[in-house]
Subunit: 339 residues, 2 copies
Amino acid sequence: MGARVGEKTVRFDMPPNILGFSSVVGKDEKNGPYGACFDITFEDSLWGEKTYELAERKMQLKAVETAIEKSGLKAGDIHILIGGDLLNQIISSGFVARQMGIPFIGLYGACSTMSDSLLIGAMSVDGGFAEHVVCAPSSHFATAERQFRNPLELGTPKTPTAQNTATAAGAVVLSAQRGQYPSVISATPGRVVDFGINDVNNMGAAMAPAAAETIITHLEDIGQRPEYYDAIITGDLGIFGSKLLIKYASELGWDLSGVHRDCGMMLYGDNEKMHCGGSGCGCSASMLNGFFLPEMIKGNFKRILFVATGALHSPTSALQGETIPCIAHAIAIEMGCSI
Amino acid sequence: MGARVGEKTVRFDMPPNILGFSSVVGKDEKNGPYGACFDITFEDSLWGEKTYELAERKMQLKAVETAIEKSGLKAGDIHILIGGDLLNQIISSGFVARQMGIPFIGLYGACSTMSDSLLIGAMSVDGGFAEHVVCAPSSHFATAERQFRNPLELGTPKTPTAQNTATAAGAVVLSAQRGQYPSVISATPGRVVDFGINDVNNMGAAMAPAAAETIITHLEDIGQRPEYYDAIITGDLGIFGSKLLIKYASELGWDLSGVHRDCGMMLYGDNEKMHCGGSGCGCSASMLNGFFLPEMIKGNFKRILFVATGALHSPTSALQGETIPCIAHAIAIEMGCSI
């Protein structure tokens, strides 16, 4: 059962536990500074499949299967599969759900899907509607690039503010089972925020205000300063977007500089080919599951605020002259506070 | 707080009440047999806007505003807006969320979105995570046709099994407020079912097995016969898909023929131009909100099972030779059982 805290935050009375989690990434991600952290990596972006879409599906499927296995459960124990990806009609998730045979809820939250799905998943478990759920986002550079931007064959150069869609998937098993696990304590669902950015190659700038709003709302709601968290982790603002986040927040009286981390900045390290860093649903999903959750289990972080960010435009809306509406959802995860 | 019933069904202990609901439809829907039931209708498919996408957005926005108004609440009272539509990256819903300024969860469930959103909405309210939520799907013939099939200008003829995407939106306000309202008693989230249909002009046939599975699972879970409900309402199977549903269910030992209604068959009556009937998220949304809920309030139905159905393919997956994965979620609504 949940309770509302402050203006927009919900608290989970029996915090759902993260029983298992997984990450699956491609070559560029494997070659980044966190390459050794991921459960499964592969070299060729087709991963033995005939199309990039099939490769993305395989990634998401492997992530789901691995997370369930690591949690010690079986697919039949999972009551709801909550999936999402960047592809039109979220086909990666729909086909994975077909294969898994688990009741399915499909989300579209762009790169915010890891947060979005944890929010729905935690509500399902804490509300007594499901014993175990799996939350599973994915993205693939090659499927996203040709859908959102240009055919890969064109070799279109990137602008300096561009980010690279991560070839990555992650899955989290949330459960009502008690024990010493990282657990989801509270969540702050975000509003759509749009500061008028219309450059689809500058999504960090577009998403930074949404991240700032959600983080500040969350901190105000729970009555804490940023340092309450060992890390406040945004999804994929990248180098430029992260600078803007720190600046916006500072103008509003909040100094996030000490605790802020951004998965988009971390994933590829200082690989200049990636310009401002990583993006895509899989970017924050793989960093949460590959790095942050293991660090919590090791005792290096006690309490994190995970804030995946999403840009909700489409190629059609961009061509029709719309600016980029953005969103961010905050998920507070704490180690070992199990009831 | 919820509880699980049988294998896949969840029961809401404090059934969320439907405090307000609305329907907005275009000309063809207005000229159908239920034309007089809808709250707002318009003649020209652009509805004074520059693009069909803007017209769809306007429909969904009007539906949300009208439902909130009819519920006696204000936009600021709504804790979560749960939206979805057929467009790539669900842009209608994203932009409506931007305008409303309410924390937003975006779903992609194709034509199942009215059920999908009621499921998430009811969990949010019954679980204590939100006092009031709005569930809001939409679809528009002109935006869907050019995205999923052909440019309208081609005037491509339809095959006999084709259905017509409804130009329609609906919104439902679910609330923890007590009183004499229709309320959401239980829900059965569906699995993805795929019987191998690959004809995207025959979605009724593709979706019928998913509908059959979810309906039968629901009835088994709650231990009732079909006649327990005054109506079991599928979303948009159309004429052909509805025949298949009755046949499949009968082969499995369930006679649904007495209580089955299909929104896709109802929306346009016997208008032959619409071939097998209506489809799209707005089809079941407008029929639920324009006809079934008002009939419940008048006392003509005491108990309904609302089962919106969705086809989760994309133009890309169809071109890549995939069959059509389908889903159906069942939502049980009862009049006046408020606690």
